[in-house]
């Protein structure tokens, strides 16, 4: 047991650096993902066929591509086009592009929970598409979107560990360092699990809070 705590105490620097980067990666990607994902979701329910087609194509391509390949594409293939992206931004872009496809589908399914009559009534009042979506549909859709959205965000938080393979020193890179330092892998992995629990629990509480706050009788 003493050995277990010693692993953390002796390697604080690595755990702090690693998890700080994980949080940075998550927060930056989360902001862009929510924006891009909502935009894509709006495209998929928009009345313009070209936008719908673009949204559908985006979701189908990105959702069917393993995240590792999205990373590999940005880090190994894009430089061949003489486009140079640094590794941390590349990781943010990869996570954003990939997770947006999932956020888009959460938004779309949320919108679908709003009765068609709501949108029709809004249109009958002369509202534009932006107004219908922004004032009538999305606020209602938001409520049913909370739990799946949190699942997507939690998945993204864990997906940040893939960046370790692409030169971003975050929590996923800790095991490699610890192995080289000769620390027991079992304890290391347990500490990483505990680290992620600490990061994910607030998200779970946020979900509960929002669910309770926005609950409505239907």
């Amino acid at each position: 047991m003493g050995e277990f705590f010693r692993v953390l105490a002796d390697n604080q620097d690595l755990f702090v650096d690693g998890f700080t980067n994980t949080v940075k990666l998550f927060l930056i990607s989360a902001v862009f993902t929510l924006v891009l994902g909502t935009l894509l979701g709006a495209m998929r329910v928009s009345p313009v066929p070209a936008l719908r087609a673009f949204g559908a194509a985006y979701v189908n391509v990105l959702r069917n591509t393993p995240l590792t390949l999205v990373f590999a594409f940005l880090v190994f293939a894009v430089p061949k086009l003489d486009v140079n992206i640094d590794y941390f931004p590349a990781a943010c872009i990869a996570l954003t592009l990939y997770t947006s496809a999932f956020v888009c589908e959460v938004v779309r399914s949320g919108v679908n929970t709003v009765a068609a009559g709501q949108a029709e009534a809004a249109r009958a009042l002369g509202m534009t598409f932006d107004q219908v979506l922004g004032l009538i549909v999305l606020p209602q859709a938001l409520r049913s979107m909370v739990p799946p959205m949190m699942s997507v965000m939690i998945a993204m938080l864990k997906n940040t560990t893939i960046a370790a393979g692409f030169s971003v020193l975050e929590a996923g890179a800790i095991p490699a360092y610890m192995a080289e330092r000769g620390e027991p892998q079992f304890a290391v992995l347990l500490w990483i699990t505990i680290g992620f629990l600490i990061l994910i629990l607030p998200l779970v509480f946020l979900q509960r809070f929002l669910e309770r706050k926005w609950t409505v009788a239907r």
Partner: protein
């Protein structure tokens, strides 16, 4: 130009796909004296041509590892697969290189035919775990003997002494040694000793340190101009320089001493002593030199057998 780039891009995507698919041990690998010299391209294995005849009447008493190997009639060996001229697996699935032949030599001395070797590609970070867990019987793959590692496993050897050096693009003139790295992007394997040395000694700024899982990925970044130098043991770098002839070169005096040992289960002293004896025999009878000259020696630098450490 545009088309060429698109083609390169598609090829990269295909490569990434196949790399992902090959994470698992794929097709059975023809091992031993496989020499696919008739296959096209530079990705073919070249062996030193040394033949490894399984020894009969092997007697090692008190070694649980050997008992296990003997009972199974085969041996599982941890290796690297992406280090040209050291531990390499070519497009045909043939394995070759200095470390591979050392592994085959040791197997033959354990009475196992080298074709009965079950190779396992264990990344550096998982080596101790694989040996401790019995996943491999021994490990031969640029495995530096360190006191910390001796807590977990045992080492036979060293069978080779390497030193940390730098690999740069052929036209690079600014980087000549470890003290010229400031402001340059330096790549190595995630968490590896060489990159920790660069970080600890402040050879370059922390934001200029680039880490990938494998050295090959660093080589790719080096060729694309995204990093300026790759640092690790000169043995590994010489292999890459020989592979990408005309594009890369090794610079700088070695600035560390890495003694490569054969990783063995801890407390199996009987096996360690036996393997040490066999390595010594290879030093003395010229087998070691023959293996070296036929593999790493092709990079143009000569080497002589090191001195065994029987700790």
């Amino acid at each position: 130009m545009r088309i060429a780039r698109m083609a390169a891009l598609t090829a990269m995507a295909a490569l990434a796909l196949s790399a992902a698919a090959c994470g698992e041990e794929g097709a059975p690998t023809p091992s031993g004296a496989g020499n696919g010299s008739d296959a096209p391209g530079g990705d073919t294995c070249q062996t030193s041509g040394t033949t490894f005849t399984p020894a009969s009447n092997v007697a090692i008493t008190g070694s649980p590892t050997y008992d296990k190997i003997k009972a199974a009639g085969k041996v599982s060996v941890g290796v690297k697969f992406d280090q040209p001229f050291l531990g390499y697996k070519d497009a045909q699935g043939t394995r070759c290189g200095f470390d591979i032949e050392i592994a085959q030599y040791v197997a033959s001395k354990l009475g196992i035919d080298p074709t009965k070797i079950e190779y396992k590609e264990i990344p550096s970070a998982n080596r101790e775990t694989a040996i401790k867990g019995g996943e491999v019987d021994y490990y031969v793959g640029t495995y530096s003997i360190t006191d910390k590692r001796k807590n977990d496993i045992s080492f036979a050897g060293p069978y080779y002494v390497a030193g940390q050096a730098l690999l740069v693009r052929k036209d690079e003139t600014a980087i000549t040694g470890k003290d010229t790295l400031k402001g340059k992007k330096v790549c190595s394997a995630t968490g590896s000793t060489p990159i920790q040395k660069v970080r600890d000694e402040g050879l370059t700024e922390p934001e200029n340190i680039v880490e990938f899982k494998t050295y090959s990925e660093c080589v790719s970044q080096l060729l694309d101009g995204k990093v300026d130098a790759l640092t690790t043991d000169d043995a590994i770098l010489k292999g890459y320089a020989a592979q990408a002839a005309g594009e890369l070169k090794v610079v700088g005096e070695p600035f560390s001493t890495e003694k490569y040992g054969i990783g063995l289960p801890k407390d199996d002293k009987a096996l360690r002593d036996y393997v040490n004896d066999q390595i010594q025999a290879a030093f003395t009878d010229g087998t070691w030199q023959k293996i070296y000259d036929g593999t790493l020696g092709k990079s143009g630098s000569s080497a002589t057998p090191p001195t065994l450490e029987r700790y």
